[in-house]
């Protein structure tokens, strides 16, 4: 079964997410940068765990972008916050699933879901959601276990990210020169 396979996913022509394709999480420049870190006791993480938690916008699941269908310079851009610069943390679905299983989440479903750039450029959509890592469960006060699993998952993911996985901030894309789709896989 592919990482994105799910029942009822027939409303899109976008292929399901492959366990070994590269996904990225957008990280706001300055986001998670420590105000203080005692480096005499440990090395600071490359990406703070809090940046892998679902934001209020991630109601349907954690937002990730597939580099298979969007070039990195465009993946680091949001048209609704065009002044905000982003770094990209590269992630593998198979590794995210492994982290999930280690904290008691049986499986992760990666569902293609169009964002603003996908609506502009059409299918295949590059944006997808990790359904199990969603804000609704994270905020569910009546069942704390779902939130605790998401917290543990984010912690596991952040410890697996290395320096090589995190890009420098990207400049805004230039539509005249920067291809939206990657040149080749």
């Amino acid at each position: 079964m592919s990482a994105g396979e799910e029942d009822g996913a027939s409303s899109t022509k976008t292929p399901t997410v492959d366990p070994d394709e590269i996904l990225v999480r957008q990280i706001k420049v300055g986001g998670g940068r420590p105000l203080f870190f005692d480096e005499t006791r440990a090395a600071p993480p490359f990406v703070d765990r809090s940046l892998f938690l679902p934001s209020p916008n991630d109601v349907d699941g954690l937002s990730l972008i597939r580099l298979r269908y969007r070039s990195d310079v465009w993946a680091a851009f949001r048209s609704n916050t065009s002044d905000q610069r982003y770094r990209l943390a590269r992630l593998l679905p198979s590794a995210l699933i492994e982290c999930a299983r280690s904290v008691g989440i049986e499986w992760l479903h990666f569902s293609p879901s169009p964002d603003e750039l996908d609506r502009e450029h059409g299918e295949p959509w590059a944006h997808c959601n990790v359904q199990e890592i969603n804000r609704k469960d994270y905020e569910n006060k009546s069942d704390r276990t779902a939130k605790d699993r998401i917290l543990a998952w984010a912690n596991a993911v952040s410890t697996s990210v290395t320096l090589a996985d995190v890009s420098s901030p990207f400049p805004p894309p230039d539509p005249a020169h920067d291809r939206y789709r990657p040149a080749a896989e």
Binding site: K28, V29, G30, G31, G32, R33, P34, L35, F36, F37, D38, R41, A42, P44, D48, S50, L51, L53, S55, P56, Q84, S102, V103, G104, K141, R144, K147, D148, R149, L151, A152, N155, A156
Partner: protein, 140 residues
């Protein structure tokens, strides 16, 4: 008896065939911990009224104030248990992190002071997390 000041301050130096006296270690340790607490408070004061390079939503002044007051109280109660990290919370707030060794297992505890006035405590241990929210929120 030596009066070498580098021993008293535990600065690195050549072996002198003498161990630092326990009192000297304790004094140095207290000074080190005090310096760390000062750095933590200074880091929070540094973002008062200015988010600097923190992306929006930045911590509010009320959040920073609550974090400083609680850190000062924790410093008074347990001066050797210094935070290891302070980061801005992505949704607006401050997260303070402690790490401790419990029977050979590292335990991470984070206290998040959020802009909505709530305080959330998370303990990470053995790959799992346990969270709780303080209903009373920020102390007044």
């Amino acid at each position: 008896m030596t009066t070498d000041s580098s021993i008293a301050t535990l600065e690195p130096g050549p072996a002198r065939g003498i161990e630092a006296a326990p009192d000297a270690i304790a004094t140095s340790s207290r000074a080190d911990h005090a310096a760390v607490w000062d750095q933590c408070i200074d880091a929070l004061l540094g973002i008062w009224n200015t988010s600097g390079s923190i992306p929006e939503p930045a911590p509010s002044n009320a959040t920073i104030d609550a974090a400083i007051r609680i850190l000062r109280e924790m410093r008074r109660i347990d001066p050797t248990n210094t935070p290891i990290c302070i980061v801005p919370a992505p949704d607006g707030g401050i997260i303070v992190e402690w790490r401790n060794d419990l029977n050979g297992t590292e335990s991470i505890q984070t206290v998040a002071f959020l802009n909505d006035g709530t305080i959330e405590i998370v303990t990470y241990r053995d790959g799992f997390a346990e969270s709780r929210t303080l209903e009373e929120g920020f102390p007044t």
